[in-house]
Amino acid sequence: MRTFTILTALFFFVGIHAATAQTRIITGQVTSSEDKNPIPGVTVLLKGTRTGTSTNADGKFTLTLEGINITLVFSYVGMKTEEITLGESNVVNVILQPAMTTMKEVVVTALGIPREKKSLGYSTQEVSGDVVQKIKTDNFMNLLSGEVAGIQIRTTTNIGGSTNVLLRGIKSLEGNNQALFVIDGVPVSNENTNTLDQQDAGVGYDFGNAASDINPDDIESINVLKGAAATALYGSRAANGVIMITTKKGASRGDGDSKKNFHVTLNSGIKIGFVDKSTFPTYQQEYGAGYGHYYDGPGNYWYMRDLFGNGQLEQCVVTSEDASYGAPFDPNLMVYQWDAFNPLSPNYHKATPWVAAKNGPITLFKNPTTYMNSVSIENAFKAGNIRLSYTNYKQDGLLPNSQMIKNNVLLNGSWNVTDRVTVAGSANYIATQNQGRNETGYGTSSVLSLRQWYQTNVDLKEQKDAYFQTKQNMTWNWSDPTDLTPIFWDNYYWTQYENYETDGRNRFIGWASLDYKITNWLDIFGRMSVDMYDELQEERRAVGSIPSQFGIGYGIDGSLGRSYQGSGYLRRDITFSEYNYDIMANFNKEFLKVFSIKGVLGMNIRRTNQSRLVSATNGGLIVPEVYSLQNSAGPLPLPNELASKVGVNGYYASASLGWNSLVYLDLTLRCDQSSTLPVEHSVYFYPSVAGSFVFSNLIKEVKWISFGKVRLNYAVVGNGAPYNDLVDNYSLATPFGSPVTFVPEIKKNPDLRPEMTHSLEGGLEMKFFGKRLGFDFDLYQTNSIDQIVPLKVSAATGYFYKVINAGNIQNRGIELALNAIPVQTRSFKWNITVNWARNRNKVISLAEGVEDLQLGYFQGGVSINARVGQPYGVIEGTDYVYLNGQKVVDPATGYYEVTKNSDNVIGNINPDWTGGMRNTFTYKNWALSFMVDVSKGGDIFSLDMSYGLATGLYKETAYLNDLGNPVRNPVIYNTPGDPNSGYAPGSGGFINPGVKPDGSPNNIRASAENYGAFGYLYNPNRAFVYDATYVKLREIALSYTFPASLLKKTFITGITLSAVASNVWIIFKNLPYADPESGLGSGNLQGYSTSSLPSTRDFGFNLKFAF
């Protein structure tokens, strides 16, 4: 869909030379043949030059030219270009015809082969680079949500976090399901380097995914290849669809006049974010620290301590307790709080009023600011073109001391050495430096733990001041007023300023190609490309922090089961390189005017190497603040090393046959030889066939149908195994007086076969009334069979997992893309694009005898599973006990009964449907667009709610009950122990809706006196599963392009100013206190929300200069 043609046209201004003698002033108006309306923005050029102008809002233009033989070229996207040679008259009125039926819409398909869109037998959808350039973000993928039917983007709120990009649902059980990114034909890695523990919601950071290195300002267009038929030539790794990115090139706008093609573009943007309060908890303001009343002092809410050695006991806050289920606030009550033990505090050794904090947890967040500045220089010569761009991106994060800096340089160009030989190349260097990412998941040093564990009496501003005053870990969470060591949580500012991580990546993506035209119908193309990076991740724990799981444990990356360390330093050195060597022969021939044949014969050799070295200190640091391995207090543990090498040799052939621009047939065959499969299964073939029928060519007399095409395809894509799944190795561990080895948890399999994905797709594409209305509709089914999975097995077998070929996952879906221009007048145009997609996935089978496969197990007792007959990714956990559909309440306590088993299906991570709608309004030089993005259905488990309600942090845990009394008051019957005697005045408690085991309605009042009543302790996991639906106003963008008339006496050729608001408003959601999109990171384990950052509403300005 060419959504932004009008905007592109508006941006396209050309300078005007000042008039001299013998001039002619030529005026005229351009109108459309369809509706007779004037067309603004039509380019009017003196033929063979860059001299010209464009029409104004009334379709009118004025040109001052010299000479007698003047030919003007009128061009406008979507219309046929007209050439008018002027006679005597200086007035030219032009009527442009729509180009729809004849215009060749060319799209870039797999392997970079340009194809006429109407000839394709499969679905592709194009997004203009503009879409990802308006909003300045660290990861352009975030902006694709809702822009393409069938793309499912899940953005995390993590600083620089990874983005989950799914096309047509999850296909691989445990493998990678992310779409493949290809830039100018070069596949680039989009792996995230997050640890295993991080992905299972343990301690870790979300290091983002590597495709975010791509600079959005360099993107010309993005083409999304969704199905297997579209991607068949890429082979196995493209089974999840391909995001094809075409970068900007030095463009020729004349006939190779380098002076006129020289362009400089400056682009400057700034963005500032504000916390969306609906994505952060509302804390109750009535009760402070404690888990209940089992301590000392009045009401048993306090620590009574002899603070001054005078034999007198002082009333102190229960500093060690990280819940807010304690004493009711009372401004007249003076108690010793955490700051009474900070010698630099004005409250040192003083009792202060017992009140709710003035500055709650939300105080922690800053307004994140983003600056992005880029410059590009381009030129096009007769013999080729060149473009150089540089972008600097800087973001200060939501959390204190968090920052991302990215520098990106891209040089690309091509050179027509002779008429037959073209060489081209590209070099892209990207350096990123990040600091202070938020720790994700359930860990001891996540500052976002304050969603779950906190004291509502703690003032964050005072915490901040205490840290900066003392530069010590001045926590609110002392072990005891008489034992001033932090117990569970550090001062959050200490965490951010002392225990921060840093990471940086240096990346080079480059390619060189040679194209040799042997004849006019045959050319040979060769290309070598490389994508390589090294990444260093460093984690720190300062001396004085609470001990946390740190260092090296077990698991393939050493991140699981780590021991507690009070301080330490850890580094991960990661290198990645991928080399691709391509050679292909393209032929393209027409016969008898009606037949065309296009063919490719090619070969791809791919080598991917990855290495990782993890090392860490042990038993703490000797010297504080020195973060190095040699500063380890204990002997260094064995480091963790990985060196993986994967090679695939692919051979492919494709033929596209066309008849009379009416019927097209595509056939492909690919053969892969994979290093990861046993020799006897390492070579495998897979075919695809796609056909299309442009039926509108048969019914040309039906004028209102401008275009109509049906398409149908079937494809098989094979896939090799992950690295090292064939042979068993032993694991080595730190010696215990003598060498120690283990049998690993995973049993490898020397008999693996390739996996296969079969897909069937049919579609209908139609356009009406010229280009005013169009739709593209798709139906598909894919079955991924014989998948290579580490199947979880009974540990009684001696292993936890066995690698096998098994299973069948089916995805069925509908995709619909709609484009309409409801209103188009002289100066006003309204354009709507709608994308909608529904994907239903289902686990048809797993391994023999296996009904349920656990994919991930999370804190809180829930797991994400694949279960036969269910969608991939059900949430399993404990449920209510039901009687005739009613929740059963334990009559002894009034709390709900909870199932003993935790394999109940309590949710499904997949949305029912996703969709987006973009409206664009253009009026003269103004353009306004907004985008609404919807994800309907799907479930998410909230650990925050499970814990935060238990610990009494949220406002839902302090309210007046049905008796009009504080719910946390004890339940008091008139006759003690007799629920039928009525309630005494002031009785607290609440009545859970449901029935007693005998089926009668519940009338037993549950006590909310101590922690847990509302949270995980007395409720099943089911209680914290929420509908993940959201409706978001993603973006509002307003831009103004300075009229060319204003600039004509300057060297500037264009100025565009825009104001953009993104993530403006979550119009609807059901997940309390968090963004339903906030997950742990990209990967298969979604549907779990814990300790996430709130999302921000972002407002920004951009200025674009071209000269």
């Binding site: 002899d306 070969m603 042990n618 543990p637 049998v743 009684a796 349920d852």
Partner: protein, 480 residues
């Protein structure tokens, strides 16, 4: 370059897939060391995800998060973790270790004899590991276990397994020859001392036999008597204890240190059930088990041993803590000691077995004496304690089960699993579930949740066979 790659042979391409960082073969001895350390880890750690028997036997309790003290096994999937650990991290490695050593030839004298000893020792530790699983769950996969080609192993009858294990111990003991060496430092428990392993094997057999007393008295008697009469003898002093001495730096520190000190957390405190009991008896082991806490309300220090209320929320600072000596990194882990052996002999005497001389009272006294001196008490402490009429065998209340069960429970402090098993056998001391408990005191673990999904049919059969997969289902040996 391209051409070269194209014609690279298949074999060469496949070579890329080789793991260059981890070995294809290792020594059986290094696998044994790993298994031994892992076994101790599971039996010693107080980590609430793995080993909560100090809580279940009410030696310790929790401070704030009291779920495990109230028998919540599900939330942290504790049965899964225990099962997985023993099967994969212990038994699988022992099995592999045994296979490698069996297939290694030691042609030169005394190689063959040493090899025989090694295999026997591996077998003994394997039997011990299996016994822990059977004592936890009852029926478990055994005859079809450890076969990765059978993903759905059947569960065997607990009693059948147990009796087979005892037979395996018989055979292993016969194969031991103390005249030769064995695993040397690869064995961090006895450092290859074959005689010590023989004593451990005999004591283990004694314990396993005794556990069957109520269910198969004939077999139990024969087993106990054969253990007692073996020429190598039983664990005869604290020097023979089956222990692992930890090291001063992680990851080889005592897991108690890891959880109580290194973690910086304050999750566990001694439970009033045990502390009150010991206070009442003025037990000389109190200072070695617990710290004292100031109970003064006036400012004048008043130190006492105070246990947290079992299963309730407790304020860490108001109660006694686990004694400092237990929390040091190098504190030894223990899986069998001399006191335990003597208690078993006392029980054997009461049950009318030939325990090779000595009355129940003598063995009882020896057991208590061994425990007190192990922890650091003096001979006078022993004498005084035994003189207390509530302790003295003749005057202590109740039947022999009460007397032995009660004292054994105290002596098995910090050995939660054994304390739990002995409590299940003797039903003494009487333990009450806390008022918020999810169930009565568990007498077994439910099967791993993963078994329901991964091995469902066999799980269901086994559950039905034992009388329901519940924490209240008494195991085959737990008749009373």
């Amino acid at each position: 370059m391209v051409i070269m790659l194209v014609f690279s042979s298949c074999k060469k391409l496949q070579d890329l897939n080789k793991d260059t960082k981890n070995p294809l073969t290792v020594s059986g001895e290094s696998l044994f060391t790993g298994a031994e350390v892992n076994l101790f880890q599971q039996m010693v750690t107080p980590n609430a995800n793995y080993n909560i028997w100090r809580l279940i036997s009410q030696q310790w309790t929790e401070t704030t998060y009291t779920d495990e003290s109230n028998y919540d096994l599900v939330d942290r999937t504790i049965p899964d973790n225990h099962w997985n650990w023993i099967y994969q991290y212990v038994i699988k490695d022992l099995d592999q270790s045994s296979k490698i050593i069996a297939s290694t030839s030691y042609p030169f004298d005394p190689g063959p004899a040493v090899k025989k000893n090694r295999l026997a020792i591996i077998e003994i530790l394997t039997v011990y590991s299996w016994s822990v699983l059977v004592e936890t769950f009852g029926n478990i996969p055994y005859s079809q276990a450890l076969n990765i080609n059978n993903l759905l192993p059947k569960y065997d009858d607990g009693l059948t397994i147990y009796e087979d294990l005892i037979k395996r111990l018989d055979t292993a003991t016969v194969h031991l020859d103390p005249a030769y060496g064995s695993l040397d430092v690869a064995d961090q428990m006895y450092f290859g001392d074959v005689a010590a392993w023989a004593k451990f094997a005999n004591s283990l057999k004694l314990r396993m036999g005794m556990l069957l007393s109520d269910v198969d008295p004939v077999f139990a008697k024969a087993t106990v008597e054969s253990a007692v009469s073996d020429e190598n003898g039983l664990i005869g002093s604290n020097l023979d204890n089956a222990k692992l001495v930890y090291m001063s730096s992680p990851p080889n520190t005592n897991p108690i240190y890891d959880e109580l000190v290194a973690s910086g957390r304050h999750d566990y405190i001694p439970a009033n059930t045990l502390v009150d009991t010991m206070n009442r008896m003025n037990d000389p082991r109190l200072p070695f088990y617990f710290t004292q806490v100031d109970t003064s309300t006036t400012g004048d220090p008043k130190l006492a041993y105070v246990g947290g209320i079992y299963g309730e929320s407790n304020d860490f600072t108001q109660y006694s803590h686990v004694a400092d000596n237990i929390q040091i990194p190098t504190f030894e882990g223990l899986i069998f000691d001399y006191a335990e052996t003597e208690f078993l002999l006392a029980e054997g005497a009461e049950r009318g077995y030939n325990v090779g001389g000595g009355s129940a009272r003598e063995h009882y006294n020896n057991a208590i004496g061994a425990s007190i001196t192990y922890w650091g008490g003096s001979d006078d402490d022993v004498k005084n304690y035994l003189a207390d009429p509530r302790v003295a065998y003749s005057t202590a209340p109740g039947n022999y089960k009460r007397k032995i069960g009660f004292q054994k429970w105290i002596a098995l402090y910090n050995r939660g699993f054994e304390a739990w098993t002995e409590w299940r056998k003797f039903d003494y001391p009487v333990l009450f579930p806390p008022h918020r408990a999810l169930s009565p005191v568990p007498v077994r673990f439910t099967y791993p949740i993963a078994e329901q999904t991964l091995n469902g049919a066999n799980y269901a059969t086994a559950s039905a066979a034992i009388g329901g997969d519940l924490v209240t289902t008494k195991l085959f040996w737990d008749k009373y």
